[in-house]
Symmetry: D2
Subunit: 432 residues, 4 copies
Amino acid sequence: MNSNVFERLESSVRSYCRTFPTVFTRASGSRIHDARGNSYIDFLAGAGTLNYGHNHPALKEALLEYVADDNIVHSLDLHTAAKQRFLETFESLVLKPRNMRYVMQFTGPTGTNAVEAALKVARKATGRTNVIAFTNGFHGVTLGALACTGNRHHRGAAGVDPAGVNRLPYDGYLGDGIDTTAYLDKLLGDNSSGVDLPAAVIVETVQGEGGINSASAQWLRHLERVCRKHRVLLIIDDIQAGCGRTGSFFSFEEAGIRPDIITLSKSLSGFGLPMAVVLMKPALDCWEPGEHNGTFRGHNLAFITATRALETFWTDDRLSLAVQRKGEQVGERLAALAQRFPTLEARGRGLMRGLRTPGEEYATEIAAACFDQGLIVETCGPRDDVLKVLCPLTIPDDELGLGLDIIERNVVRRMERDGKRNARVAAGVFRP
Amino acid sequence: MNSNVFERLESSVRSYCRTFPTVFTRASGSRIHDARGNSYIDFLAGAGTLNYGHNHPALKEALLEYVADDNIVHSLDLHTAAKQRFLETFESLVLKPRNMRYVMQFTGPTGTNAVEAALKVARKATGRTNVIAFTNGFHGVTLGALACTGNRHHRGAAGVDPAGVNRLPYDGYLGDGIDTTAYLDKLLGDNSSGVDLPAAVIVETVQGEGGINSASAQWLRHLERVCRKHRVLLIIDDIQAGCGRTGSFFSFEEAGIRPDIITLSKSLSGFGLPMAVVLMKPALDCWEPGEHNGTFRGHNLAFITATRALETFWTDDRLSLAVQRKGEQVGERLAALAQRFPTLEARGRGLMRGLRTPGEEYATEIAAACFDQGLIVETCGPRDDVLKVLCPLTIPDDELGLGLDIIERNVVRRMERDGKRNARVAAGVFRP
Amino acid sequence: MNSNVFERLESSVRSYCRTFPTVFTRASGSRIHDARGNSYIDFLAGAGTLNYGHNHPALKEALLEYVADDNIVHSLDLHTAAKQRFLETFESLVLKPRNMRYVMQFTGPTGTNAVEAALKVARKATGRTNVIAFTNGFHGVTLGALACTGNRHHRGAAGVDPAGVNRLPYDGYLGDGIDTTAYLDKLLGDNSSGVDLPAAVIVETVQGEGGINSASAQWLRHLERVCRKHRVLLIIDDIQAGCGRTGSFFSFEEAGIRPDIITLSKSLSGFGLPMAVVLMKPALDCWEPGEHNGTFRGHNLAFITATRALETFWTDDRLSLAVQRKGEQVGERLAALAQRFPTLEARGRGLMRGLRTPGEEYATEIAAACFDQGLIVETCGPRDDVLKVLCPLTIPDDELGLGLDIIERNVVRRMERDGKRNARVAAGVFRP
Amino acid sequence: MNSNVFERLESSVRSYCRTFPTVFTRASGSRIHDARGNSYIDFLAGAGTLNYGHNHPALKEALLEYVADDNIVHSLDLHTAAKQRFLETFESLVLKPRNMRYVMQFTGPTGTNAVEAALKVARKATGRTNVIAFTNGFHGVTLGALACTGNRHHRGAAGVDPAGVNRLPYDGYLGDGIDTTAYLDKLLGDNSSGVDLPAAVIVETVQGEGGINSASAQWLRHLERVCRKHRVLLIIDDIQAGCGRTGSFFSFEEAGIRPDIITLSKSLSGFGLPMAVVLMKPALDCWEPGEHNGTFRGHNLAFITATRALETFWTDDRLSLAVQRKGEQVGERLAALAQRFPTLEARGRGLMRGLRTPGEEYATEIAAACFDQGLIVETCGPRDDVLKVLCPLTIPDDELGLGLDIIERNVVRRMERDGKRNARVAAGVFRP
């Protein structure tokens, strides 16, 4: 019998644990510790779930107090005091200041469940079935959401053909100078384009899994305009880019657009607890009671930490400004590397940043070296060739600097090895 | 502006809160309290999520300790000490004693995500797309699972046609004396039946949402035999009936069958925390790393309470015996009502019980009266005509009796009103 | 280079030519001749396309005259004199005498195109997508029709999952004494049956490819009643059983039902020329112009022969009576065989008859022996174990008798070989 | 009762007869006559089915002789002498001179059936489900083919969601200077493009229904190259553009490409008789016997006329040269109109030509005026704004000139009315 319980009992589907092969035990802020006594700076941040770091004291305090006092933990979609406070707080701290009128649907507490609900309500409200999704998009792996997800690795596991989605090129996909929303506009206006009039367009403002591709604010505005023109709903999937990751609470605020439907999850609870919501304009709320349900829609511990997170971080613009500042710092460090090694490319905005390397073998090797040196950073993109820098938004400056130093050191080392090899090849010393 | 934040901000999809219109605040054991100071006996139990009651002290203690100590909360599918202990405990307390060899996949922490993963892996392992599901089955509402769910209310909201599923009649659906597995056997063996050879059959041993329909142990054995004969996988969806609800840990133990794949969720964490797993025979574990993923696969708070729940309740057979005893008690009380009023029908096994009334208006009225008198009990079934008695397994005898008294009182009251009316009609006093 | 042009140039998909490996040249009535000078009695009749035999002189005359005179051959869906005469004749000889009010849609001239159109208009008229088809049904192999076809051989070649169809057991499929329309009734009336309310039920009154299974008149009436009750359309696919094959023009006349939609093809042109129509009740005719189109909707040569066929055979009941008489004769001969050899089973009605043998190897061997002796007869059914007796309706008595003699001789020979072998085994002389 | 049998009995789906409201009776060459004694020049030519004109004497003679002599008319997929001669003639006159090695599958005798078979065999041979089709493409209206067809009018009648097809922009769709095959290349090479690796690309070299859009020879070569690079099959749907319509027998000969699969129908029989074939490279012929079947695969009258058509027109290059010459003549006349009225656009190649007008109301009015003056010409394109000039290839020069004169006259009249109106508006005389 295999003495390792993970290998013995856990399905081969496990993934991150292969890249970061240790047993983690404790964590706080942007630091995470393992059973062997090692400590790591966390640039993974739960793939965008820990925007406020691990075990933030203010959130932890609220959670402990709530649990200790025998408050309601699980409530289906019953009314609870915890949900009430979350709704009121979200309204006063997020919606009202942005002059946004939306109703909220609590779905099963994962992003993919929120996407499924968003697609359903968009289809129900419009009476259409088609949905437009974009190249390199990621929206989850349950069947409805998976149809919108671009990755063949995930799509290939669907088991049945994911239906009801047409694929359009994301901003920049057809090269510079081509506005891909013009193509969408033409397709929608053409009665024999073969692209049926869709219920909705679903899009991420920054594609996380897709390799840290950012849509420009202008492109997002054009996209909104095309949607309005053809009376198609615009769904912003803000599961990874939302909750402050790009600076503002919603990632689309910079563009000044007003999506019809918004999905949020990941960092919404602020503490890593499962939670997901769909925001929709009131006129779209055509649900009948219970049409879309789920056992864990009422995860009150998440309501509690989410409320405290909003109170802690979103009553003023300090977090936003910090994200902006640190984001620029990360961007500059990555840009400097890209300038030094032209096969690299710096990507992203806010604290959602990436460095595209020449290939998966580069990114993988660099991430592994970083891990050995105390930094957790993952890779992403269609070819897994992009280092994904997604530290907690609350990371102290020194730890951020330390993490970036580790990245820089290992990137340089890897790229210079190439350089030397190329020089030797050029000098005839080495034959590849 | 609507002064009620729920009405103002929450989508019309909310459902339970319409039946039990109050704001709940605290709970412990089988008691739940609201903001107006009312206390209720809870025969809803989170629709089967709170088998060990609300805020069980042993689980609460483990949770508080874990959170207080800055342990890992969110971990994607990284290895953590909490997950390790859960795996070891599940192996030693659940799998080994039952001589079961399975690997475990942690999916997004909702039942529907587990069902999606189970369907995918079954399709991948067999290379087939078709799946057999049963009349009145419920397996979730994300698109892949929804295709298996029978309810038109949920199916109608799909937005696209749920594909890849054929429907077969559940045990008893074609009337007494007809073994519906023989029909399945014929279809699978017939080259022009029109039912393509399926990857899997997915079935609940007791259909909860479907109206508390129990499959007999013999039918389950026949089903397993038909599956083996045609090399089709057998998936038991034990999300609602598992974790002790019918007495044994798994609901299919009574039948002595060995499913290829098992889904668990709801009461698995024991504390109402989101958690879901897929168990599969090792030979089926054909997943490639990360093929099915999700942000909240590593919800360590749930691992902690789940581990403690196993340690508290599954080291001996006391809980099982108690469920058996209380289940019989509930069964007898419901049977007595059914004997007294022949239009009623008692259903279910263990502590998964139901009382079918003559129609939705009966069940709804009785449930509402119960609520007024301090008992929370929901309705279910295709016509919403079944009272669903799903108390915590740990309910004290006196509270169980009290709850049953309330049900009895209101059932009798409603049925006798009919009786009097019928008598008056018969006597010519009243003309309907 | 292969000297056989068929093997050299024709796809491996060719099929009948493998069973009857010769090159056919000329034919008339129920006789067909090959290039080697052999003559065969034709009990295949173009799989039901040549109800009036090969090259019927009256039809041939009309055809020659029409072509010689430079009349319109191809007309899309333009009005032509030939189409006009066909419409008038069909109205006066088929519809009016039966008091039927239907409009006619000329589709692409194959049965499967007609089925596709029928499904579309049923879905359009009802706004629903689901369709009910039956075990062992055959409705064509283009994707929409294929979803209704039961055979795995054909379904497996679909390439994509055929969607939108639920499968129900045909008359007799669940054994004697079980009326499968009661199951359908229950499913349609059950809100969580998992079978969505369908647009239509599509059914053959006698399943040709499915093995010559006849639905009883009573079952058809029950089916119609269930359809009416749930406001579901009833489509009779009369492509093989129609045009007199069972005695009456439509095969459902015996049952006295009135389908909402009827598909006809095969023997409609009477001369083997491609032609297909959909008949629908006027209220269902919700087509917009050109929504369903096709190049060969206006095959005027077929209109000409179809008109002449109606005039020749359907002005009185002589053909019907002859079919009845000959059908009984065939039935009796097959029944006698089944009585003599209890593993045989006689099936069918009218001149749509079959003899089920113990297995494909029997049916194949018998058909091959018949071919050697001058009779063309094919096999059908899910296991290809049914001899399918489908002679021209106009076959002279002596040729019919001759054909039946050949069948009888070869059936007896094959079955007696079994008998002798069994006897030897029983006597210990032979060990299998 | 409506005295018009067409209105009384024919479904509202009828279409061409609304544009050309008369009853046609006889025809020969490029002339067609109606019951009122009118004669028309035929620029519709059965939507490309009558490339050799109506009732060509050589073909008619072969047909009459064949029918008169009691040869086989209907043969399923049995071998017949007529089929044998067709195969040999197609091989010697079409395949061999072009050095093409293909096997032939006779499908149900309509274009859409051939497309269904082509899609199936491509999916079967590759084991993939996705297919790439293009904007404005038309491939038929049975469900499998319909998924490839672009027109919303047709797609909207599908009844279920047509699945398994991704849509790419046709040559020129993204504007001049953008090679849309580069986009396809990028999508296929990108693991998270969301466009699953397809079985095949299906394309028309000139889109007939789509508005007479011609792909350039270079674009077709690039498309072939992208297909080869990613091991994707290339299907040329040559149903409308083939059989000499663009000059060469196949429309893709100009581009020098070698498709993996080719569909032919429409003018293949040469006489307007239903016929369709799929040509595929021998290595792709993975069909099992009978997997794709159909009653009218063996329409021997069509084999006879098709053979005679090949013998009459394809033994030398006279027809090709004539098409080239007449095509240029048509092209020049249309170009001259487009030069005179800049809102017009001349399109197409060979004798597949179109004139795009400013809108449907123009094209419809012009076509109606032409009809009144003795010319049948239809409209096409997503907006029905393109006059489609598709005369028989064999049209005498004088009739071609006459037809073009009628078009010119009516186009000029319509456009000048605009001009005068614009002038009056400009002069302030008229207020629109």
